[in-house]
Symmetry: C2
Subunit: 160 residues, 2 copies
């Protein structure tokens, strides 16, 4: 494995997400990285993540777009503040809105590459565009509106 | 179990979807029914389908909205043609676009109710609004643009 992914910096009590939590043993464990000004992640769906046979399930594609988007928002928020990821206070983003356009059927059985790009970045809100490629062909385009996790969602007594 | 769900009428070779395929042993197996002019489905997430602890993972919510939406589109298309579900030719819909607004965090550990409503219905395209409720409170609103499955996605030599 290469360096730590964005999601590896989330504190333990915020690392149980089914899509990207390193402590969720059943989940997808998406990990995202910077690649210049874009973010990148790779994910190979399991054979049972199927829609129509031969193609990847749209709900899974929405899921990996979601977590790559919120991870990118978090990393960009730290970058904007000139802070290292993992430093406090924690900047954990959650999804307010998700839009996914399935441009063509996504073939199953090959690694998918996700590329994220910040479209808007504010103190508490980010809009991230995520494109999903299979064999260098764009298959899906998503947009994640991510917001800084509200106090009401924080596990009691943890994560400053 | 009550009567057959919309998805139970899909032919075998189109019943492997991770979200709703009755032949996908790893999947969510969403089943949808008519409730007057609306469609309804119930789904209880597993404890590991978590986002931030205590709340349901957004990607899972997108997934169940997706399959409830395409199932509703299929059922409505048969209804529009005055045909029984399962009769031929098969009317199987796939998702062209999905939009999900997370209105409030969705609590985990309780059954979720999905209610679908046809917003637009054409010969080859439907727009379905899906609302997700937990304890009678709306938590998520989705919109599924579903299109009749293109020939290019059909498993070879099957499903007329």
């Amino acid at each position: 494995m290469r360096e730590k992914g964005f999601q590896d910096y989330y504190p333990d009590d915020l690392s149980h997400c089914f899509g990207c939590g390193r402590l969720n043993e059943y989940g997808h464990r998406i990990r995202s990285f910077w690649d210049g000004d874009e973010s990148i992640a790779e994910f190979t769906p399991e054979p049972y993540h199927t829609a129509i046979p031969g193609f990847v399930y749209g709900g899974l594609l929405a899921s990996i777009i979601d977590c790559h988007g919120t991870g990118t928002a978090s990393a960009a928020a730290y970058r904007r503040q000139g802070r290292e990821m993992g430093s406090e206070p924690v900047l954990r983003f959650v999804t307010a809105s998700l839009k996914v356009d399935y441009l063509r059927p996504t073939p199953i059985g090959v690694p998918l590459i996700l590329r994220g790009r910040i479209k808007e970045m504010g103190e508490k809100k980010a809009i991230v565009e995520v494109r999903v490629f299979a064999r260098d062909t764009i298959c899906v385009r998503g947009e994640v509106t991510a917001v800084l996790m509200p106090e009401s969602m924080k596990p009691a007594g943890k994560s400053p």
